[in-house]
């Protein structure tokens, strides 16, 4: 959370090029706009390469805010690809609010396991969901960007579930949108929060 705008929620996303990290950051922002919120969502990537680690940021607030910098002190960290822990390690949670911080992750094991792996402060809320399996199951491809949003908003009510579904269907019209919506609902229901 920025030091001056205490009502701004700062989200940092991690994933790999091709997994839709940037789209995830945008969808949260677009859902926020539907609720009359102010948003700024932008990516930080190098030359576009499939598989390279990618970060994206979303700031969201009920009040107008002005900062245009990367999210260094996130309220929420959202990880689309658990293999990134092996590369980036604890850098993923750097600056995460020690009191009210939330970590949402695509992760097969329990929240406790992830908490131990990252040596997290016990105050940090951890939400895990096997987003890859849900994505393969429902969408037919291991694209976890929309799925993870279901888990994110269950753990931290940044925007309403129905608005996420609405903007996702708009972004992916037709059958693919319906499947994404179903996957989001499944993640919303299946996320394990500790």
């Amino acid at each position: 959370m920025s030091e001056t705008q205490t009502d701004v929620i700062d989200i940092r996303f991690y994933g790999r090029g091709g997994q839709g990290v940037v789209t995830a950051s945008r969808l949260i922002g677009e859902a926020g706009l539907l609720q009359g919120k102010y948003v700024h969502a932008f990516p930080a990537f190098g030359p576009e390469r499939i598989g390279a680690p990618v970060q994206a940021f979303t700031r969201i607030s009920n009040k107008r805010f002005y900062e245009k910098c990367e999210v260094v002190y996130p309220d929420i960290v959202c990880v689309l690809d658990p293999t990134l822990y092996g590369i980036l390690g604890q850098a993923i949670v750097s600056g995460l609010d020690e009191e009210k911080g939330v970590l949402i992750s695509n992760y097969k094991e329990s929240p406790e396991e992830l908490r131990k792996e990252l040596k997290l402060n016990p105050n940090i809320k951890v939400g895990v969901v096997d987003a890859t399996s849900i994505a393969i199951d429902v969408i037919g491809r291991a694209i976890t960007n929309t799925v993870i949003l279901g888990a994110l908003i269950k753990a931290a009510e940044v925007v309403d579930l129905e608005n996420i579904i609405k903007v996702t269907k708009k972004r992916f019209p037709g059958e693919i949108g319906e499947k994404n919506a179903e996957a989001i609902r499944r993640a919303y229901n299946e996320v394990v929060i500790s």
Partner: protein, 393 residues
């Protein structure tokens, strides 16, 4: 109030251009401007925009097409960034001297080498001598609004000059924000069809781009400079009219808490927003920090900047650009010259080259330095680079 639509900076420019109905769009895609060109190509292909879209093979050709089309009386738009602008540099001077109101959107990107696709304002700042009006935006809304104002300013018969306006790479070009949109009808009422100073007409032939040697080049350049200086009047008038239409008022220098400030941050582009956040924080602690954003950069708003800075002890300039071996970076130098007669101490800072993140705490450090200078009253002798690894700030 218009509908709020989520758009990136690139998209906001493309959608606003669509409302302005250009006759010709000639552009070559380059990261991070690409989405402007892609969207406009889509609009034309889908029949939503009745423009001649010329997919050129280089930026040099893009600007050359703009030149020719504009001489024929067309409303013309192009967009570029970084190396693209470097490649069209030769033609920029030719367009301005011919008094052609070509409008160019820029996604401000660092220049190679080393190759880098991220934010830097130098691609547009180095065009300061080309005779183009030059404006730097600070968010998606200002990018949208400036697009619409740009055509009206450039095409005003008193002006009839090309205009470029920029948005920081990725931080704005690829950033989603809510943008309050305008209706086609509103823009149609605001922006009249182009009424050119002259056109190429086979029935009434003229010569454009003639030779001008020792006998006339000098007078032509003097005349061109008078047009550029006078364009400030039109820029302000159009900003006022746009404010009346939308409720969104822009100034050539946008200030925030500058009136009673002891220290004023002088910024351009996206850094402005982060600086504003720092001003809020310092004000809540009772520290007299203010902000002056150089929104219109050419013509340089000398009087307005002097007015904005007149009560301050120190003005701290933050340049997202580098000019090698100069007395100072580009914004710093212009501010310094403008305020040389009895103005505040000007303290120069460089930040964020190649898209390096410029954080709230970075700008707070700048402010702290400037407050120290205000206390001692001693003018700093060198430019400080914020956050260069291995170099003491």
């Amino acid at each position: 109030m218009g509908e709020i639509v989520g758009m990136t900076g690139d998209e906001s420019i493309a959608y606003a251009v669509k409302l302005c109905d250009p006759d010709v769009i000639a552009a070559y895609p380059i990261t991070p401007q690409t989405i402007m060109v892609e969207r406009l190509a889509d609009f034309v292909y889908d029949g939503e925009l009745d423009s001649e879209f010329i997919p050129v093979e280089s930026e040099h050709s893009a600007m050359s097409c703009c030149y020719g089309s504009s001489i024929a009386g067309a409303r013309v738009f192009t967009a570029s960034a970084s190396q693209g602008i470097a490649l069209m540099f030769e033609i920029l001077f030719i367009v301005s001297n011919a008094r052609l109101p070509v409008v160019m959107g820029v996604a401000n990107r660092a220049l190679s080498a080393p190759i880098n696709i991220h934010a830097g304002l130098e691609d547009q700042l180095v065009c300061r001598d080309t005779g183009w009006i030059s404006i730097f935006c600070h968010d998606c809304q200002s990018a949208y609004d400036t697009t619409i104002m740009a055509f009206k300013i450039a095409e005003d018969k008193e002006v009839s000059l090309p205009l470029m306006y920029g948005i920081d790479a990725f931080i704005i070009s690829h950033a989603l924000e809510g943008v309050e949109t305008l209706e086609k009808r509103e823009v149609g009422d605001f922006l009249p069809p182009r009424d050119p100073l002259y056109v190429l007409d086979p029935d009434d032939p003229i010569s454009v781009g003639s030779l001008a040697l020792q006998d006339s080049y000098y007078e032509l350049k003097y005349a061109q400079e008078q047009v550029m200086i006078n364009s400030m009047k039109t820029i302000k008038k159009v900003q006022e009219e746009f404010g009346e239409l939308t409720g969104r008022y822009y100034n050539v220098i946008n200030t925030y808490y500058a009136e009673d400030a002891e220290v004023i941050l002088v910024t351009q582009g996206a850094i402005t927003g982060t600086a504003r956040t720092v001003v809020d924080r310092y004000r809540s602690q009772g520290k007299k920090l203010g902000l002056a954003q150089v929104h219109v950069y050419r013509p340089f708003p000398e009087k307005e900047l002097r007015d904005a800075l007149k009560g301050a002890k120190v003005a701290a300039t933050i340049d997202r650009s580098i000019t090698f071996g100069a007395p100072g970076p580009i914004l710093y130098s212009d501010v310094k010259v403008t305020t040389s007669n009895g103005g505040p101490i000007i303290q120069g800072f460089i930040a964020g080259l190649g898209g390096r993140d410029v954080r709230i705490e970075d700008i707070a450090k700048v402010a702290d330095r400037a407050f120290e200078t205000a206390k001692t009253g001693e003018e700093p002798t060198k430019i400080s680079w914020i956050g260069v690894r291995g170099v003491e700030f």
